[in-house]
Amino acid sequence: MIFGAHGDLSKRKLMPSLYRLAYERRLPSSFAIVGNSRTKLSDDAFRQTMHDAVKQFLEDSPFDEDLWNSFARNLYYVAGDLKDRELYSAIAAKLEELGQSNVLFYLSTQPSFYGPLVDCLGTSGLARPPAGAWRRIIIEKPFGHDLHSAVALNEEIHQVVPENAVYRIDHYLGKETVQNILAFRFGNGIFEPVWNRRYVNHIQITAAESIGVEGRGAYYQEAGALRDMIQNHLLQVTSTIAMEPPALFEPDAVRDERAKLLRSIHVMHPDEVAANAVAGQYRGFRQEPGVDPDSQTDTFAAVTFFIENWRWAGVPFYIRTGKKLPKRTTDIAIQFNNAPHAMFNPNHNSNPSSGEAEPNLLIVRIQPEEGISLRFLSKQPGSGMRLRPVSMDFNYGSSFGERSPTAYETLLVDAMKGDATLYTRQDMVEASWRVVQPILDDWNGRKFEFPNYDAGTWGPAESDKMLARRGHHWRNS
């Protein structure tokens, strides 16, 4: 049951993922998809709209009309306003008619509807499963707009359903490479011994987009880069890269460790924010449709986090994200300490821009080309001891030669199976809001001299200065 089925997310991600799951015969034979939005549509009109959307947005897969026709027979539509109690009666009747007892409710609506919608699911009885069946609720981000609202929303939802029926989606956690971090760290014996403050100098996480707000200016100016990316996706990625090994690979064991890590992140004192967080806005953002000409929204955010535990004490975690940056890329770079003694001629292995030796780097590439690279120094062939950096690459796509499922495919199947490992739990969401809240508070009370970076650059100069204060510099991702 998709609420907001006529929206962008449904067209671009959910329906193509469900179609692909059908293509791979990973949907149960008796499945049905019921869409809802306020737009009045017949079942057939809804099917046609979704047909066009899937054809347009399906990635790395062929579109098969015959398969679509078979898939579309299970698509239904119930129009109605989310605030209208009669809608829920109509939905209940439709589910009854379709003979569906196990129901996954996907909340792909405006976030302000999450609380009232869940409340309506409760009062209408839709949230209560019949004996032997299940009812689960997937909630899209953003989950709250600050710590206070996230806590309130959690309380509101728990009035209706228990935590184990709530699936807060963070599609980054469903990406193959993010899952592969767990395999890489805990399936191999050689990395964990150096995965700590003794060997790691610092960590950089970059999530860059080359595009601007692309018509989402009105939404985006309410969110900003810190809320839109760092509070959820990038802190979840941080927790994956930095968490302790769970004893078991099962939902609560993994999520316990993620939550523990998020709780270990130092919550900045207000006077620490200026030195550890940088906001930026690209030139031209204020001219985007729907954007306030004096907007103070951050289209770029860079933050230095510290994790206060034995493993990571003193290791900076630099996180940056932004729009209109040079390219679309998301990666994690673990920079190791230099060799303790420099026995080779520094002129032959130093970076002239910084004067530093070339450190070892382990890069986990999340998008667009998923993989892992290790940079190390190698002797250049020939006489003399000249060293040069080389990169050893593992490319996910070409190494396995098979298509990776999209994050939404993975997450939808997990929710159907009741596996919440890759979903965020209440305590994880609240812990990550707690970490960004002092920055939001500081930024809300400040008037920035925006815009402060040009499209096609790596953000404002202050972002470079933030790293330079600790003798570091951003890599060119």
């Binding site: 890329t329 032959h348 002239p352 780097l361």
Partner: protein, 308 residues
């Protein structure tokens, strides 16, 4: 300028190119080799052809992602991808390097620099190679310098030797790391002179460099290098007849002297008293000197001292 190149599309084209190459080589597959990003500014279409040939040679020792930029005034922006492959003797697997060929308006390289930034291979060195004499007479290339850790030029293409060195000095003073293929071509001469002192240490009071043709940057560098190595010695230049370039170097002192002279082709003859020996200069063609220059990944301390 209306940007018609989408860097993400170019990177996607590169990925598809590799997939295509992998499909074509079903037995052993292809090995993707890349040790740096090499941005080459070609003078024109013909020059770009030469660059492609040179890249084919360079990739054996210095596999790279080559970005060949044909920068002409008023040229329309465009890009296409290509691969250079070779198969080492006795092996069954192709080794390939990737490349991007771009056209751009030379007067708008500032905009082009922004397009190049996302095309650079992360975490590996970036080298900029500005071919031809334009480098010495315009400021078109300035926006590209911050992209690279090293800029390679060939001052022997410049119309004015002293002016070319002044340009390089100015760049160096701004903190840019520059390399000059004219200097690289001197390596054989410098080795021959250094070997003289290995064989028999002696006290030198005068050095005479005989050259033919116009005074080139190579000759000026050579004199400066001699002055740097032998600060108390008088170094004189003498223009003589013959093929253009350095013809001979005479080092003299109270105890005698040594003459290193070019006798035929790339053969150097070293005469010291009754002893004569011969040595071959390394090849000075563009491919060879470029290969040698790319091997120097850090600072060339001696050349940088000359530019101070």
């Amino acid at each position: 300028m209306t940007a018609t190149v989408n860097p993400e599309k170019v990177l996607k084209d590169l990925r598809e190119l590799w997939e295509q190459l992998a499909k074509e080589q079903t037995d052993a597959g292809v090995l993707r080799a890349c040790a740096m990003t090499l941005i080459v500014i070609a003078e024109d279409e013909t020059d770009a052809e030469h660059v492609r040939q040179t890249l084919g040679v360079l990739m054996h020792d210095h596999p790279s992602r080559a970005i060949v930029l044909k920068a002409a005034e008023g040229a329309e922006l465009g890009a296409r991808v290509f691969a250079e492959c070779w198969m080492p003797f006795g092996r069954h697997q192709q080794i390939c390097s990737e490349g991007i060929e771009m056209t751009a308006d030379a007067a708008n390289l500032g905009d082009v620099a922004r397009l190049l930034l996302p095309l650079i291979v992360p975490d590996l060195p970036v080298v900029l190679w500005c071919r031809g004499p334009r480098f010495f007479s315009t400021r078109y290339f300035d926006p590209l310098f911050p992209l690279a850790r090293k800029t390679i030029v060939d001052s022997e293409t410049a119309p004015n030797a002293r002016g070319a060195i002044a340009v390089l000095r100015e760049l160096r003073s701004r903190g840019e790391r520059v390399a000059d293929l004219a200097w690289t071509r001197l390596t054989g001469w410098r080795q021959a002179i250094a070997n003289v002192f290995d064989d028999a240490p002696m006290k030198i009071s005068d050095v005479k460099i005989a050259y033919a043709g116009a005074l080139s940057t190579r000759i000026l560098y050579f004199r400066q290098w001699m002055e740097l190595c032998l600060p108390a010695v008088r170094v004189a230049l003498e223009n003589i007849g013959g093929d253009a370039g350095i013809r001979a170097v005479t080092l003299s002192g109270k105890e005698g002297g040594v003459t290193v002279s070019k006798v035929e082709g790339s053969l150097l003859e070293v005469r010291s008293g009754q002893k004569t020996s011969r040595t071959l200069l390394p090849p000075a063609d563009a491919d060879s000197v470029m290969r040698a220059e790319l091997s120097i990944t850090g600072a060339d301390a001696v050349f940088e001292a000359l530019l101070k």
